[in-house]
Structures are given as structure tokens and as C-alpha cells.
Symmetry: C3
Subunit: 313 residues, 3 copies
């Protein structure tokens, strides 16, 4: 015979009881005054109940936490993309924001679960699988602490092994955002994090060289990792023309001339352009078109771009 699954254990009941008792002791100022902010990022998509389960766990800790989404459409298992998106958006959020980022191909293996505090004060709750690579390099880590996955988890979830996003990360994020758990009390400090290898942007004589870490997927624009400031050393000013070469694993795929402009409207519809994107790096687009589709270029570690200035005769 097959028994009913009981989601609510005795332990969970105790936790509920404890919460109620705690509420009686709390002063009049409500949790909503703490202004806890959580931003969620996953590769779960929005078609099933996974993200809603995470939100429910957070509301169970403190229903007044402000919960926003970074994205839930990270390509499945793509830790690099999670690292990229986090790095691209974090500066726009208040310093006490707690990011919960769950792209976790190694769920249940020996990979650690951590809480990182950046030098800016931002907090990130995540598996330690490379997700922190880019923010650690650019912003800098203040400290990283390992979560004890058996102690710091949703009460009653000890028998679940595959949904750490809900049982551990959302729960710990809510505890921290609502100030029920202090960062220093999370668990042992770690000396370092797991970092993904990636090619740095660089200049070689009169060429800027870099990668295409990501596309702007809605429009098919290519976002390189070459910072806008590099244009100065090349002497390239708005209105100037440049040569763009794109290769994949050393095989040339694109070679064309295009204008470096401030905004899309500075070139005709359908024309290519080089511009500074919204995260401050060089990007390539077709005005009101899709460069990625038109030239069959995508993003990732195998792609390389090379930019040189076209000098007036």
C-alpha cells in the first residue's frame, strides 16, 4: 500500500509554534519596516511552480520582504550566464539587497552553498560553482561564508535533496534579508570561491580584442567584454568607422566595416553599428534588426571579436 506524503513534519509544526511565540515578543515595529529586499535569479523558467515555491518560503519567513526577479530564463545549467547577469545588474540595486541566484547543475554533490558579501555591501546566496566569478573580480568580495545545509534550511525539508533553491537558498536569503540571521552567523568563513576561467579583453598594438560573453537576446545584439574606455586608446570617436572581425575557434565568420555611433538612430535602419551598451562595454547591432541571426553569431567562450579603426585616406 502506498501512503500519503506528509509535507508537514512535527519539526515544521514546532517551527510554526516558535514563530507565533516570537511574534508576541516582538516590539510594535513590524518586519515591513526593515525593508528587506530579495532579488531572485534561476534557470527554472516560469512554467511550473518552482519559483512560486521559493517565493512562498520567503513569505513564510517574512511576508513583507520585497521580492523582485532578475530573470528565471537563464539557459539551463549555464553558470556563466548567471554570473554575467548578476554582474551586469548589481550596481543598480540598493547595497542591502540580497540576491538569491540558483543555477545549480551540481545540486546534491559536494559543491558548497555560500553567502557572499561584496565590498559594496550587496549579499549573494548561491551555490559556489562560479556564479560569483565576475562580481568577485569587478566589485570584490568582503567575505564568503559556507551555509550548513543541514542546519540552515526550511524546517521539515531535511528529506528533500534536489531543490536547494527552495529549501536552502530562498530560506537563508529570507532569514538574512529580514535580519533574522546575521551574515557573521551563517557558517565558517571560506578563504576563496570557485572561479570560472574566461578570456580577458585586451589591446594588441592597434587592435582591441575580446570575447562575446553574452547576447542581448531580445534584439540579437552582440555584447563584447571590451570596456568603452578602450576606444580612447584607439582614437575612435563617435562618427568614425571601424573594422569588425568575428571568429569562432580561429575560423573567421564575419568581417565588415561599421560606424561607431552614440545611438541606434545615428545609422540607417538595417545598418550595423558599434556602440556602448547599457553596461558600459562595446556592442554590435543592426539598427531595428537582429545581428545574431543575420550573421549567425552567438555568444560564449569560443567566440572572439577584433576591432580596428578605419583611418581616413
Amino acid at each position: 500500500m502506498i501512503r500519503t506524503i506528509t509535507y508537514r513534519s512535527a519539526m515544521h509544526f514546532k517551527a510554526l509554534f516558535f514563530s507565533a511565540w516570537l511574534a508576541l515578543l516582538m516590539p510594535a515595529s513590524s518586519a515591513s519596516d526593515t525593508g528587506g529586499l530579495i532579488v531572485l535569479q534561476t534557470d527554472f523558467g516560469l512554467k511550473d511552480q518552482a519559483v512560486a515555491a521559493m517565493r512562498g518560503v520567503i513569505r513564510g519567513v517574512d511576508r513583507h520582504i520585497v521580492i523582485d526577479d532578475l530573470t528565471h530564463e537563464i539557459s539551463a545549467y549555464n553558470v556563466w550566464e548567471a554570473a554575467y547577469r548578476l554582474n551586469a545588474v548589481i550596481d543598480y540595486w540598493p547595497n542591502d539587497t540580497v540576491f538569491v541566484s540558483v543555477v545549480d547543475p551540481g545540486v546534491g554533490t559536494e559543491r558548497k552553498s555560500v553567502v557572499a558579501r561584496l565590498k559594496t555591501g550587496h549579499t549573494i546566496v548561491t551555490p559556489d560553482n562560479g556564479t560569483l566569478t565576475l562580481v568577485a573580480d569587478r566589485v570584490g568580495l568582503q567575505a564568503v561564508r559556507q551555509i550548513d545545509e543541514q542546519a540552515e534550511r526550511l524546517p521539515g525539508s531535511q528529506d528533500s535533496f534536489t531543490f536547494f533553491g527552495r529549501d536552502v537558498y530562498a530560506y537563508v536569503g529570507a532569514q538574512i534579508a529580514s535580519d533574522r540571521l546575521k551574515f557573521d552567523a551563517v557558517g565558517p568563513a571560506l578563504p576563496d570561491i570557485v572561479r570560472l576561467p574566461y578570456e580577458k579583453a585586451r589591446q594588441e598594438s592597434d587592435r582591441l580584442i575580446g570575447g562575446i560573453p553574452v547576447l542581448d537576446p531580445q534584439y540579437g545584439n552582440l555584447w563584447t567584454n571590451i570596456p568603452a574606455a578602450a576606444l580612447g586608446s584607439l582614437g575612435l570617436k563617435p562618427g568614425d568607422r571601424a573594422t569588425l572581425r568575428i571568429s569562432e575557434e580561429d575560423k573567421q565568420r564575419v568581417s565588415l566595416e561599421l560606424a561607431y555611433v552614440r545611438t541606434f538612430g545615428d545609422v540607417a535602419i538595417g545598418q550595423p553599428l558599434l556602440y556602448v551598451n547599457s553596461v558600459g562595454t562595446l556592442a554590435v547591432a543592426l539598427n531595428q534588426g537582429n545581428f545574431s541571426t543575420a550573421y549567425r553569431v552567438t555568444s560564449g567562450p569560443t567566440w572572439r571579436v577584433e576591432i580596428t579603426r578605419v583611418r581616413a585616406e
Copy 2:
């Protein structure tokens, strides 16, 4: 002649007046008590960090603003669709809601950035590129002010030229929603807005003629711009049959007979029906099917529908 549909009656205006008077009686309250409400609409999609950056900017101004989404799946660069969605939903939101709508193919060109206040009190922050066309025609503009894009923007964003959604529109929307910036202080008043041309619905003898401004994309239903009230002058009552002709650029694509019914369940599964949709205009569907796919009809300015009553012999 076909008159404009007026959703808001004089009686509604009185209700607004009463609410305003009530507000004066209320004690002084903090920003979080003001209940600032922002609704976001873009063509950015939810796959990258663009919408999250906008939300972060808003939280940076005032984390207690309530932020909701209209949609972020407007077809890329489709200003008409943005205008349509805004017009279809605005009546269902409190009058002090601030809509931030960013479908901005001309980003960085001479197109103006504006804040519009409607006669209902609703506020819309948007590029002035036609997005306001339908609400201006139906609800009416109280005033429009131009944003000084250099002065009214996220501090520190002066070197960014391509992401006005984050740097200007989200920021200005948050300033207004949280009452840090008064509408009258936004910038110079403008005499008029940019309007998109569009075909008005009309009656010619015993035929109702109109366009298909939009599909109900989840189900493939066609939404015309012919108001339900027009059926009265045709003498068409629930249960009657009608002839539907659909043409694209003067080429007939569909001609069929169908029932005018109150609800989908009034016809058999798989049968076509004519009904009044949730925004009060005539619509065409297949019960539990997809009319758009089955008959290869989409929406836009090139499509035309014609409806006549089938008289009993």
C-alpha cells in the same frame, strides 16, 4: 458616424473629486504610506537583466513603491502594440498609478521623452513616439511635459546613451510615484504629442467595418476595433448568425458564417464564434482552438474585417 468610446463618465469624475477631498483630510504620511504604484511595460523580454535594472533604479529611489508589470513581451520596436496594451488596461488601475512604457526604436534620436497626465489622473512616462495615441484619443490628455533628459536622470548615468528605460524613464517614474517630483515641475509643457495613424471602426449601410489591431496571443483570437455597441444598429442579438469577411490589403482571405454568442461555451468545440471581448470590442475565436493559426490571419494595419447579419429566410 462612430463616436469615441468614453469609459469614464461625469459620475466617475465626481468620484475622483471626492477621493481628492478625502486625501486632504488624511494625516501626513510617509512615502511608503502614499502607496506609490508603478506599472512597467517594455519590449525587453524577461531573459536578461534589463527589467531588473529598471526595478533596481526604482527601489533605489523608494523601495516601498509597489511595482507591477503590464507586459515585457511587446514585439520588438512595436509602438502600436504598446499603445494598444496601455489603452486596454489603464481603466483597471487606480488613478494615481504611474505607467512607465518603454518601446523606444528611436532611442537616442531627437524623439522627446515625456510625462503625460490623462484626464483620469493616470500618469504615463514614455518616449513620445506614438505610445500615447490611443489613450489620448479615448481618455484624453490633461497635460504633457517634456523631460529634460540631462537633468532628470539617474545620477551618474550621464555617459550612457542607449538605456533610457533604466536611466531616465524608470528614474523619473519613481520620482513621480513617490511624490519627490511634482508633475508640474517635470519640464516645459508640450502643445501636442506624436500620434500614429490608424483606421477607425465604422458602419457602411448594413456592414460593420474595422481593423484587427491586435490578437489575443495566448489563444489566437482576433480582436477587432469595432465596439460591441455597434451590434445594436445592425440588429444582431446573441444567437443570431453573421457573415465574417477578412481581407489583407484588399485580398480576401476568409469568408465564413458564424454565430454571435455571449460565451465560448455557446458553440461546439472547434466552432468559430463572434463575441464581445474583455475590452468591449467584437472578437473572433474558435472555441478551444486557435483562429489565427487555423485561418492564417494576424493583426496590424493591413488587415480589415467586415461583418454583416445573416437574416432568417
Copy 3:
């Protein structure tokens, strides 16, 4: 001539007036203190304004209600999937959460609109079309009341027949979540609900038999309805091997051996595994792959799985 559609009637004015009067009588505790929580589920998708209209109606009742989404990507008209998602997530939400679930193929027919209270205290506002089947079976109903669709609806919406999600369910959900409408005041109690037939999981001698009610769509994993506890009676422990047979309408489609493991990382990349999913039932996956695509297996009432233990020689 085509007359104006007036959504806002005199009745609406009276409603506003009454609300204002009521506000003056209310004690200092604001609506935001009540902590009303609403979770929305629909098959509307997020491409148009339908969900935003529902949110606007809720904000119009009480802007401080916390609104979260379960999913809006239920397959069109798929009541079974709505029932499944609701059942899978409800335990993770506080007991006073109000779920508004609108997958409503019979909109406008004789199907009833109901408010259900579960034995846990959770509230669900939904068409009575089978959506409640699984929570009723697993959690249990405390009471169900029928909504009077003419009386309990958005003031001014009496002429709309196709968007009950906005006009009735969102509105009633907001009334209940904000404590303006008591459950007992909703309408007449009903003796029972509409239930969907479904095959129960069972054990026959040394075989576990069950269905595949749903996929984990982001990863292509199969989620059976066989509870994890059933493994005990089969003597299957982590690390043991099992035989999996999958058939569709009595035609065998898959027969393979796989390991029963605790986590994905316990098998090599690309290998199949049997595991306990995040809702406590047996599931089948390919580690970092897509089982559903690879083996052409989907979910629904026609699919059947059979699991036996492989005994060591």
C-alpha cells in the same frame, strides 16, 4: 451611430463613496497591516494585458495586498495542469494565502464560481471545473461556497461575460485577502466540487505502477505520481538499480535500467536516473540532459510507468 461603452456605472460611484465612508470608520491599523497575500495562476501568458488587468483590479481594492504569481503559463485550457501546480506548491505558502486560479475553458457556461477553504486554512478562488481535485484529495476541503457572479464582481463590469478572471475572481480574491469579505459571507455552501478522474499510483506484487501527471518542463524530467515512500516496500535503496518501463495507451515506449540515486551528481552526465523530486514523488531524468526529448515521452493520462527492482545475482 455607435454609443459609448461605460464601464463605470453609478453603482461604481456608490461603491467608491461607501469605501471612503468605511475608511473613516476604520481604526488606525491600515490595510497593509493585514498582510493580505494573493497568488495568481492562469493560462493567460504574459504577452498581453490580461494578468495586468487582474492585478489592477486587486490594487483598486487594496493596493497593499502582496501579489505573487504561481504561473501564467499553464497550457491553454488545461485544468489538470492547474490542479497539479496548485497542489504542488500550496504547502509552501502561509495558511492565510488566497490563491486565485483561472483556467476556465467553460467561461460563461453553467460551471460554478467558487471559493474553497482547505483544512489548512488556505483559500482558493476558482471556477469549479476540477481545479480543486488534487488539493481536495490530499489536503482536504473545510468548506466550499459558491460566488454569486452577479453580486460579487467588479462594480461596473456587469456587461462583460468573457473575463471572469478579472471581473469576478481577482475582485473576490482581493475582497477576501483584504478581509473586506468574510469567507462565510461569500454565498451558499456547496456539498461537493467537480473532480477530474485520474489514475492513482499503486503497487502490484513487486511492481510500482503509476502515471506521469506532469513534466518538469524546463529540464524535460518526468514526474510520476508514485510517492517516494513506496520505494521502501520495494526494498529499493539509494545506489540500487531499477527497471523502468513506460507505455502509452498500452504500447511500450521505453524499457531501460537505471540507478536510483539521491542527486543528479550521483550518475555520469548524460545517464538516466530515478530520484525523489521536490514534491516528494519518483521522477526520471537524464543528468544535464532532457529525458522527455531524448525518449519522446510526455505527460498526461495516457502515459503509464512501471518500476521494478533489479536484484543482484
